[in-house]
């Protein structure tokens, strides 16, 4: 199997953007191609979760290929709900590793802020099991159930899940690409309004627009994809025996570590899917980065902050960098690529190995990716 390298990385600033989705994807894609020094990749893989519903446009692979001036380059679209971006990276990885192509542009994005919040919530909620959705469950509702169960069974405290927001906002304040670039105080998080008891507004990621892109290649470059693993679980939350950890993350992590030939002990920086801040604590333990039961303490002690032992979400995470659905998983790997190359100005951490974890739906289709700087 051919090694797969990251030749180029690029993204737009996330947040409330006036541009349309093809323009946002093009901004990210052109930045990644320029970074790679490649004008025309062999193929394109596009990630968009709900463009038909949010923007009314369809046939997205061809739409973006044409917008990029690459209309005759083979393109396909990949979708696994909120982890679609990494599913696209996986498709490109597999095609290069198998020798089908030498270079592939992966670009993901979402445009959501022009749509009213209840409608955004309804569209994202289509990734929930239809029977459970018929009860009025939304992503925050399911996350609220997970959070209450995790507080009860695993001892997560309100202070711990709130400190994740404080930390990630502090990181976002140092990232010019982040949606939120202002720090928040612990009291403000703990006293923000209840969304889905016990989850509060500041425990939830924002609705964001944005695009992110990577160019993968078979030619050796500065950063290699050492492992990429997928894990799955039932779309119906009622079919799961455990609410307080995500089987799909655990399976994805095992697959990624097996492929890489090393374990969590070599990871020095990570981007985790903190769509809801308790998910960062759950994911820290599901990926084996922190021993079971220690994630809350590690967060309160500052171990997971930039400057700490194991910086988590130096980009600000979904909480502060923002969460334009299909752009998110790619943007995590963009951030790790910049960190490993020493180009994460203002938030640089010393690291040679990074881990990205992306959650699709309510943890139905998760991914773990390991990246390593060239020795």
């Amino acid at each position: 199997m051919t090694d797969v390298w990251i030749a180029g990385a690029g993204m737009t600033r996330f947040g409330r953007r006036d541009e349309n989705l093809p323009d946002l994807m093009a901004e990210a894609a052109l930045a990644a191609l320029a970074d790679a020094g490649i004008e025309r990749p062999d193929a394109l893989v596009i990630a968009a979760m709900n463009p038909e519903e949010f923007t009314g446009e369809g046939n997205y692979a061809s739409l973006i290929a044409t917008r990029l001036g690459l209309s005759q380059v083979p393109a396909l679209r990949v979708e696994t709900a909120t982890s679609s971006g990494v599913a696209a990276v996986y498709s490109a990885y597999a095609a290069i590793a198998a020798g089908f192509h030498r270079s592939i542009l992966v670009v993901g994005g979402e445009k959501m802020t022009h749509v009213a919040t209840p409608r955004v919530s309804e569209i994202i909620g289509r990734s929930i099991d239809p029977h459970e959705k018929s009860y009025g469950t939304t992503m925050p509702a399911l996350a609220g159930l997970v959070t209450r169960a995790a507080m009860h069974r695993r001892g997560f405290t309100l202070r711990e899940i709130s400190q994740v927001a404080v930390k990630n906002h502090a990181h976002g304040a140092r990232n010019p690409y982040a949606h939120f670039q202002e720090p928040v105080k612990l009291e403000a998080v703990m006293e923000s309004r209840l969304v889905a008891d016990p989850l509060r507004l500041f425990h939830c990621c924002p609705i964001s627009d944005g695009g992110a892109a990577l160019v993968l290649t078979a030619e050796p470059r500065a950063v290699r994809i050492a492992g990429i693993g997928q894990g799955a679980d039932s779309i119906a939350v009622r079919y799961r025996s455990d609410l307080t950890s995500f089987r799909a993350t655990q399976a994805a992590a095992r697959a990624a570590y097996r492929m890489a030939g090393f374990g969590a002990e070599r990871v020095e920086v990570a981007e985790l899917h903190d769509a809801f801040t308790p998910f960062e604590l759950i994911s820290l333990e599901d990926t084996g980065l922190v021993p079971s039961g220690k994630a809350g303490r590690a967060t309160l002690d500052g171990e997971t902050a930039v400057g700490g032992r194991l910086p988590i979400n130096p980009s600000g995470g979904l909480k502060a960098r923002g969460h334009p659905l299909a752009a998110t998983g790619i943007s995590q790997i963009v951030e790790l690529c910049w960190q490993l190359r020493g180009k994460a100005e203002g938030r640089q951490v010393p690291a040679r190995v990074g881990l990205a974890q992306s959650i699709g739906g309510l943890a139905t289709n998760n991914w773990v990716t390991l990246v390593e700087a060239r020795r």
């Binding site: 209840p118 919530s121 309804e122 909620g125 029977h131 459970e132 018929s134 009860y135 009025g136 469950t137 939304t138 925050p140 509702a141 609220g144 159930l145 997970v146 209450r148 169960a149 507080m151 009860h152 069974r153 405290t157 309100l158 309004r193 209840l194 969304v195 889905a196 008891d197 016990p198 989850l199 039932s234 119906a236 939350v237 009622r238 079919y239 799961r240 025996s241 609410l243």
Partner: protein, 142 residues
């Protein structure tokens, strides 16, 4: 006692699901019809303050585990006094499940019925009384 709930059982792994499904989530095997007593324990619950269109705020939701392990989503009139582990009864109204907190006599009857099969009625009544007393403690931080 409310009506039995319709469920499905996997002939291979014996797993139960509610509402009935044609195939087991874990095996591509046709499930068999089953019924379950409408009694269970709260796995988790939440209150939505901005529910989706068509639902009135606040929307109380609970995930309830029935005897035998099947879990189901329920609406409730309130979550006051509900805790993780609370015993609830479940009723289907127009195919929508609702949970309600079980009173002391309901719980005693439940333990009597459960324990009856094992011939441990006295112990079960004792446990039920103890549980009734414990449940009167003020709610914890969670």
């Amino acid at each position: 006692m409310p009506e039995l709930l319709r469920a499905s059982r996997c002939p291979r792994c014996r797993r139960l699901v509610v509402p009935p499904a044609s195939l087991c989530p874990d095996h591509p095997v046709k499930m068999e019809a089953a019924t379950l007593p409408p009694l269970g324990e709260v796995v988790s619950f939440t209150t939505l303050h901005s529910p989706p269109e068509g639902f009135r705020a606040p929307l109380h939701l609970a995930l309830v585990q029935l005897e035998g392990g099947a879990r189901l989503f329920c609406h409730g009139a309130a979550t006051d006094g509900v805790k993780i582990g609370s015993h609830v009864s479940v009723e289907a109204v127009d195919s929508v499940f609702y949970f309600s907190n079980m009173g002391f006599t309901d719980r005693a009857r439940l333990f009597w019925r459960r324990a009856g099969a094992r011939g441990e009625r006295i112990g079960a009544i004792g446990k039920s009384v103890v549980k009734g007393i414990l449940n009167r403690r003020p709610r914890g931080e969670d």
